[in-house]
Symmetry: C2
């Protein structure tokens, strides 16, 4: 908070600007919370403004539609999610294990956070153009794996797009045909991605079967 | 043509209906031809109606916009392209080689048919929902590879989505950073996909280095 105030002062923001920004953020936080609880799509604007503790009428001073708020909040949630994965992987040294762990946690979103999963499948490959959340972290991990000589597949951008296709496939099948898929399928896909990147088959299997680190409560 | 007439008669189509259908198809064929020649996006409606040998004014009796025609024609081109790949692969027995060959030919679309490549990247993963063209063929080939025991990765739907992510990645990088990519990258990606599906690394390399069959002139 203190930091925000300093930044605002430096940019010459007025008290009104600051209040507007706080109200906007309260709406985003409330929507993000509903998304995290799996109630994002069903929540009404009334419910969101109540959760944000602001008047119903001021919603449209900040967002044109529930969709616009939902999109902004989803990006925030995606970024928060990315940071949580980062923290969960902080103790892991090996780049291939970091990638596989992140992928396995993200592939479970269809079970753990269906609303966020729906946002991801809704965005599709345009996810790759969002400079926050999962895509920039996956690209970073792929490049670390290449630099460490763990991944021999030389094209990071294509590896990223392929991983996105795999993750989106998992989340889509989970949404459309939940009976066709379980968490083992997520781990088998992580294992297959490692093989694709050039990790020997036996080692890929071992890495994708490691115990997952704990994720903080949301 | 005789077959079309019979079908039309059976469904009670009038001579007017038939003429309308022919005009519509002439527009689609002209647009498809322009797309195939890499001039789809730059072509004006004037140019399209001239190529179809119909009056400029009747365009809007059949399509609401150039975009709508372009979308319809692109699907037709995609299907035509799929059939050409089928014919090119007709002599190949091994399912893994069929998949890799189709993938390597499709991955070259950024060089050989940039307009079609743009349609594919524009559609993104929604391509998976188009029941014509590349996606249904890729799914068929993946299932054939599984049935033949060549692919051990058991989830066909996820394999399909992953392949789509890989292909879209190739086409996107080719469009956005052409200097980062060449045809070798396409073959390396096909090789990596085979590894992902469970083909041993050495064999994947051999299969992805095979001479490509000739493709008919467009």
């Amino acid at each position: 908070m203190a930091q925000t105030a300093t930044t605002d002062k430096a940019s010459g923001a007025t008290r009104l600007d600051r209040r507007k920004a706080r109200t906007r953020q309260a709406l985003i936080d409330a929507a993000a919370e509903l998304i995290a609880q799996g109630r994002g799509e069903r929540a009404s604007i009334q419910e969101i403004t109540e959760a944000a503790d602001i008047g119903f009428g001021s919603f449209y001073n900040h967002f044109e539609s529930k969709d616009e708020l939902f999109r902004t909040a989803s990006e925030e949630v995606l970024e928060r999610w990315g940071r949580m994965i980062d923290r969960a992987c902080a103790g892991i040294e090996d780049a291939a294990t970091v990638f596989a762990t992140s992928f396995r946690i993200s592939g479970r979103l269809g079970w753990t956070h269906p609303d966020l999963a729906r946002f991801i499948t809704g965005a599709g490959l345009e996810l790759l153009d969002i400079p926050r959340g999962l895509a920039p972290r996956a690209l970073r991990d792929i490049k670390l794996g290449q630099a460490a000589g763990r991944f021999t597949f030389p094209h990071a951008g294509i590896a990223l797009s392929t991983s996105a296709g795999a993750l989106l496939g998992l989340l889509r099948v989970r949404q459309q045909h939940p009976e066709q898929i379980d968490e083992t399928a997520v781990d088998e896909t992580a294992e297959a991605m490692l093989r694709m990147f050039g990790v020997p088959a036996r080692e890929a299997r071992r890495i994708a079967a490691r115990k997952l680190p704990d994720i903080e409560d949301w």
